[in-house]
Amino acid sequence: MIQLYNVSKTYQNKVQALNGITLHINKGEFVFLVGPSGAGKSTLTKLICREELPTHGQVIVNGRSLPRMKNRQVPYLRRKMGMVYQDFRLIPNKTVFENVAFALEIIGASRSEIRQAVPEALRMVGMEKKLNMRPYQLSGGEQQRTAVARAIVNNPALILADEPTGNLDPDTSWELMKLFMDINSLGTTILMATHAWDIVDEMKKRVVQLENGVIVRDEEGGVYGHDH
């Protein structure tokens, strides 16, 4: 599903975020990306959704080389992945339903498709009773669940989550992680950058640890690390 070969990324301000990363993620995997701030976790997720291009190396997603991909094909790449961020990124003047429906409107889905798929996604995340509320009327956990519903509404093969629990309290974080596990159990690949060591330790999934732009550890059923 995702292959990175000897990938380096140096930003224009000369900061080297990644240095010779090689990483393979298979379909259906649940992978935690851990490491201190500035280790390169966010840069890695940005390379995979082609928000950034690598300075060196090759990034392949769904069998397609991202550095060679033309700009106008990028939207179609992103439609096959769902993204979840720490700050939710909901549109404030749209309701829960409209926020989720927006992902489908953008790709030109019909009204009947929207009427079918949006309630389904909202049921999946447990937000079916609040579909007429606006983001400011919701708790952080509810906002993030809405964002997850939006990420899964067009059945993506991959979910990229960049610190999805960063703004949530521990209980809410756990509920959200259960939701991600449910989604993963249906076959969706999940790559999650996180600082939540307790969650990582408990879930015993594959853990990729980054430090100073280099992968220092990649183990199945791993824990967050020893230095927390």
Binding site: R89, F102, G108
Partner: protein, 295 residues
């Protein structure tokens, strides 16, 4: 699905227009003013041309004769005039006739001329027409040479002045239009830039969700087009009614001046205004999106 998308474009464009209402009004206003200038200079040029060609086609040469010519010489002179190249008709006007004509043109103030009959100061004359307007100057020159001719008069300068006027109207109109047009384009670009800025978060979300460039840009393009078309439409309506009332007034108070009044050419001008507004709006959006919305 396409209809949903189109509906979405219009809704988003309308939201932005309302959100930045003062900028919207300023841009529409600038377009209206530039297009009013464009419209009125075009109409002015058209009309001056019409009047000039009217004048040209009605140009006649008046040949004033020396006093006291004998009948024989008069007849001979008429033959000589007919022989001048380009001349198509010759008409003899006696001094009595000339005075009558003058009185007629004075209308109710004709009594001012009473008493002149006894000692008529007007000379005998020939009214000469040429086959084509451009033959007038050369024919007039040759008529001056004839014996017994005192003075030769035609609308010297009038036509030339009118054509010079159109020339200047065209130059200054184009200049004003260019300056205001650029201002209008820049104002629209600013308006669109504000809209992009107000919605940059939303644009980021749209890109994250896999929106195509067209989908992201279309509402902003539409915004500029709506501004441009609105400005063009208002200017066209103002020119339409303004010109209609001008035609009316001229018809009543200056009936001998014939202005362009065929609806075909007027509608062409109005259509051009609408088109120019659309063009300005589209250009402004395009410039702004190019610079501020890298998708």
């Amino acid at each position: 699905m396409i209809i949903n998308t189109i509906f979405y474009y219009f809704r988003e464009a309308a939201t932005s227009l309302i959100r930045n209402s003062w900028l919207t009004v300023a841009s529409v206003g600038t377009i209206i003013i530039s297009l009013l200038i464009l419209g009125s200079s075009v109409l002015l040029v058209l009309n001056v041309r019409e009047v000039a060609s009217d004048l040209e086609s009605s140009l006649e040469i008046t040949v004033f004769l020396d006093d006291g010519l004998e009948q024989e010489r008069l007849e001979q002179l008429e033959e000589e005039i007919k022989f001048v190249p380009g001349v198509s008709s010759v008409n003899f006007v006696t001094k009595e006739q000339a005075l009558e004509n003058l009185k007629e043109s004075f209308g109710d103030k004709a009594e001012l001329l009473s008493g002149l009959e006894k000692d008529n100061p007007l000379p005998n004359s020939y009214t000469v027409k040429t086959r084509e307007a451009n033959m007038v100057p050369s024919a007039a020159r040759q008529l001056t040479e004839l014996e017994g001719v005192d003075q030769v008069r035609y609308g010297q300068g009038v036509v030339e002045n009118l054509l010079a006027l159109t020339h200047w109207v065209r130059i200054w109109g184009t200049l004003a239009l260019l300056v205001l047009g650029v201002a209008a384009v820049l104002l629209i670009a600013t308006t669109i830039r504000m809209s992009v800025f107000a919605r940059r978060r939303e644009i980021g979300i749209m890109k994250m969700l896999g929106a195509t460039n067209i989908f992201v840009r279309m509402p902003f393009m539409l915004e500029g087009m709506i501004i441009g078309l609105t400005g063009g439409f208002v200017a066209a309506v103002m020119i339409h009614f303004g010109y209609a009332s001008l035609l009316n007034k001229v018809m009543i108070s200056l009936p001998f001046i014939h202005l362009v009044d065929d609806s075909n050419s007027i509608y062409q001008v109005l259509g051009a205004l609408l088109g120019a507004g659309f063009l300005i709006g589209t250009l402004g959006s395009a410039i702004s999106l190019r610079r501020f919305l890298k998708v």
